[in-house]
């Protein structure tokens, strides 16, 4: 279970970190909310570690999980 990822997005080479000028890669990150943590795989800059949360994810799954946790 430790390796389980709740969500995975592959940047597919379409995203680039402006600061480091390198493509974003699929990398490990962790969502934290109200003392809960979820390992996920999101587009991450391999150099500076910038993690990108796409609009669809923020307004979709992330929002739904936020609401569920608020009512726990």
């Amino acid at each position: 279970m430790a390796d389980k990822n709740y969500y995975t997005i592959d940047p597919l080479g379409k995203l680039r970190c402006m600061k480091c000028n390198v493509p974003l890669v699929k990398g490990k990150a962790r969502f934290m909310y109200l003392d809960n943590g979820f390992p996920v795989e999101l587009p991450v800059c391999p150099s500076c570690g910038f993690v990108y949360v796409p609009e669809e994810l923020a307004l979709g799954k992330v929002l739904a999980v936020e609401k569920a946790l608020e009512d726990k």
Binding site: K19, R30, G49, E66
Partner: protein, 763 residues
């Protein structure tokens, strides 16, 4: 005050109400009380549901309800005296429902399913009934239903004669049907038994419990006495009924009491104890007949209703219930629950320590407007329950911050950045202070300015100005500490002004301030009524509707004064349903528009659907909510001062308006130079972005902060698919993301979104 977001999964609990207090409140709700006809029936026949089934043409369902009373439906329907009919509420408006005739129709047209339920295990204790009578027949029906091994001893040669002996009034169809019913029961018959006292004594010992017809018993023991509560003849331990007890109702009621006694005896319990509620009762139900037109019964021939006539008659039934609170309350309509159930679910939600709090959203979706307390015959106040729950959950840290954070930050903005409290220039002390309220300043700053200039020129003794929030937002959110701070802050400022008379621009502010401020508080409407309207007042030339503010509920004086002012303006007012004290909320109250946009929208829709006319309001939030729904609406002060706030501002403009009002007045009236905060770089918003931001509660200020952060950190990504750059910044409890392109040394904003989750990339 910093708002720290914490987990709501916390082992902390505080009782919201004692069990007794909860029950007392729940008992105020009479929705579950039986209908008048049901309470009047000694057998508690659910006549309301039965008539409803007939109205829907479902005679089988109606019969199933009727058969719950007795399997001998033809006997009951032929001889029932129908005490329910006199209690029918429709009697007050016209003729009551012909329930008795409908029962006859149900008995004739209803079809029972052939296989009735599951096989039931027979009870261990055996029962015998001696002698024929209506009582014996009904008792047999009751005991067969309860699955007692039952034997019947009678003189009669067969079942038909046994039924006829008890119910001689039946016609042949009825008789045949009841014989068939009797024969379908698992009963052992000893027909043609010569019933002598000797035989009775001899046979009865073979059974655990014995019943007898009153005629037989009086033959054996003349003058025998039956206890009317238990139907037990104590001397001989036989169940029967008094000889004089005749008629279908009395016999069936006696049989039901006797059957309960059999149960008690079979369990070796005292037959007099724990018998529950027997017989007809009074109901506490209140059904509003104001909008019910009286009608006459459908004529019934001697042979009874046809199916069609029965349906037509049943359709006259108004299905008595109390739904007064639901009629004008979108919140109760939305959740399809009435206060008793909602209160219990909210109580449970507050009481659980772990597990899903399913009622958090409903708790935060009540407008706290108090309409229910006015329309409920017993004054049931859901606002009180919801506010109590919110406060309780704030106390135990179980209330999530997310639903109310934006509004709470807005209150802080009103009482910090946008706050202003100044005496009139040239006056050391103030006789008055104008307190327009945060929404007036946010939505109609020009109107606030015009009112202040007018008041300070026409009133003597100095009119101070206080731009801020009365604390209603934190009060509604249940954040009582923050409310107490707001109250202390406002009271301190008023004290500095010399405790002047407050002229409130908003009924809710007036109500809130009056809870703690010792000085005089009046509404701007009172002042204008006294000093007269200023020049330039205008009217809406078409008929207009008045929407009463929920802040003025129970305040007839304010409601009437506003109408007088509208009259002085020359406005022609149209009547609307739910006006005055029964006015519904626009959707702003109780912070519904922050916690549940869907319900808030439905609330505003209900208000605008009451009339086609333009609205006059005396609360700026109502004006704003109706304008957002596309209805022309004006605050009465806009008409009085000839101003027009125009299209409703978005959330950023609401803040901007407050700041600009403060700065503008500081400059214009107090001659203070204000250093305008300017953005160091050009920033432009696409119209779609502004719309999204308003929907998503993202301020322009937030976006500017994100871009400022980007200019420092240069952290952003480029999406080759959309050709846009994307950056982000965490502000407080929220991460804001901005999609933009660079333009003229600045930024063109395409979209913005946010989430409350934190992202940790350190793994």
């Amino acid at each position: 005050m910093a708002m720290e977001e914490r987990s709501t999964r916390i082992y902390r609990q505080q009782q919201m109400l004692s069990k007794e207090a909860l029950t007392e409140i729940e008992n105020l709700c009479i929705h579950e009380q039986p209908a008048y006809c049901v309470a009047a029936c000694p057998f508690k026949l659910d006549a309301k549901q039965m008539v409803r089934a007939v109205a829907g043409g479902d005679f089988a369902k109606a019969l199933a309800l009727y058969e719950k009373i007795t399997p001998f439906v033809h006997i009951l329907s032929a001889g029932c005296e129908a005490p329910c009919e006199q209690k029918c509420k429709l009697c007050e408006a016209g003729e009551g429902i012909a329930i008795h005739e409908l029962e006859r129709a149900v008995a004739r047209f209803g079809k029972s399913p052939k296989n009735k339920g599951l096989l039931r295990f027979k009870k261990r204790k055996s029962v015998a009934i001696f002698g024929s009578s209506l009582f014996s027949l009904f008792l047999a029906g009751e005991l067969a239903k309860k699955a007692y091994p039952l034997t019947i001893y009678c003189d009669e040669p067969d079942a038909a004669a046994f039924v006829a002996a008890g119910a001689s009034f039946l016609d042949s169809d009825g008789l045949n049907a009841e014989v068939e019913t009797l024969q379908s029961m698992d009963i052992t018959f000893r027909f043609g038994t010569k019933l002598t006292a000797q035989l009775f004594e001899q046979k009865k010992t073979a059974y655990d419990i014995v019943g007898a017809s009153p005629r037989l018993l009086s033959g054996f023991w003349p003058g025998f006495e039956v206890d009317e509560a238990t139907m037990l003849c104590k001397e001989v331990q036989v169940i029967s009924t008094p000889v004089g007890a005749q008629g279908v109702l009395a016999s069936l009621f006696g049989a039901k009491k006797a059957a309960l006694t059999v149960d008690r005896l079979a369990q070796n319990l005292d037959p007099r104890s724990s018998r529950g509620d027997e017989g007809a009762s009074e109901t506490a139900l209140i059904t509003n007949m104001d909008s019910v037109a009286g009608s006459c019964r459908i004529h019934c021939e001697k042979e009874g209703y046809t199916k069609e006539d029965a349906i037509t008659e049943a359709k006259r039934c108004i299905q008595c219930s109390c739904t007064e609170c639901v009629k004008g309350c979108v919140y109760l309509q939305h959740y399809k629950k009435y206060p008793k159930v909602l209160t219990r679910e909210i109580y449970n939600n507050v009481s659980i320590i772990m597990g899903d709090h399913m009622m958090n959203k409903p708790i935060n979706s009540c407008a706290l407007c108090g309409q229910c307390a006015v329309v409920c015959p017993n004054g049931y106040d859901m606002a009180d329950i919801c506010l109590m729950a919110r406060r309780n959950m704030v106390t135990t840290d179980k209330m999530p911050l997310a639903p109310h954070e934006f509004a709470l930050l807005d209150q802080m903005f009103s009482n910090e950045e946008a706050f202003l409290c100044k005496p009139q220039p040239g006056f050391a002390k103030s006789k008055y202070v104008f307190f327009p309220g945060c929404q007036a300043a946010a939505i109609a700053p020009d109107t606030v300015r015009a009112v202040y200039l007018d008041l300070s020129s026409r009133l003597e003794g100095g009119v101070a100005l206080l731009l801020g929030c009365c604390g209603a937002i934190s009060e509604w959110a249940g954040r009582y500490q923050m409310y107490d701070e707001a109250v202390a802050f406002i009271d301190a400022r008023l004290k500095e002004l010399g405790n002047p008379a407050v002229i409130a621009g908003c009924p809710t502010c007036k109500k809130m301030l009056s809870q703690h401020y010792d000085g005089e508080i009046v509404g701007i409407w009172d002042v204008l009524e006294e000093i007269g309207l200023p020049k330039g007042a205008q009217k809406i030339s078409r008929p207009v509707a008045m929407h009463d503010s929920c802040g003025a509920r129970g305040d007839a004086h304010t409601q009437q004064t506003i109408r007088k002012l509208a009259g002085k303006l020359g406005c022609e007012l149209v009547e609307t349903e739910f006006s005055g004290d029964t006015s519904p909320c626009c959707g702003y109250g109780g912070l519904v528009m922050y916690a549940n946009r869907e319900v808030a929208h439905e609330m505003a829709q209900m208000c605008v659907n009451r009339t086609d006319a333009p609205y006059i309001t005396y609360c700026m939030a109502c004006r704003d909510r109706f304008a957002r729904e596309g209805r022309e609406s004006r605050h009465i002060l806009e008409l009085i001062y000839g101003t027009n706030a125009g299209e409703p501002p978005d959330i950023s403009e609401k803040r901007y308006n407050r700041l600009m009002l403060k700065n503008g007045l500081l400059h214009e009236i107090w001659g203070e130079e204000i250093l305008e905060m300017t953005c160091e770089f050009p920033i432009t918003f696409m119209p779609e972005a502004l719309k999204l931001m308003d929907d998503r509660m993202i301020l322009k200020e937030d976006v500017i902060k994100v871009m400022e952060s980007f200019r420092e950190t240069e952290e952003a990504i480029f999406d080759s698919e959309s050709g846009l750059m994307i950056t982000r910044k965490r502000i407080g409890n929220v991460t804001f993301w901005v999609k933009y392109e660079e333009q003229d040394g600045g930024y063109l904003i395409h979209s913005a979104y946010s989430h409350r989750m934190k992202i940790d990339s350190s793994q």
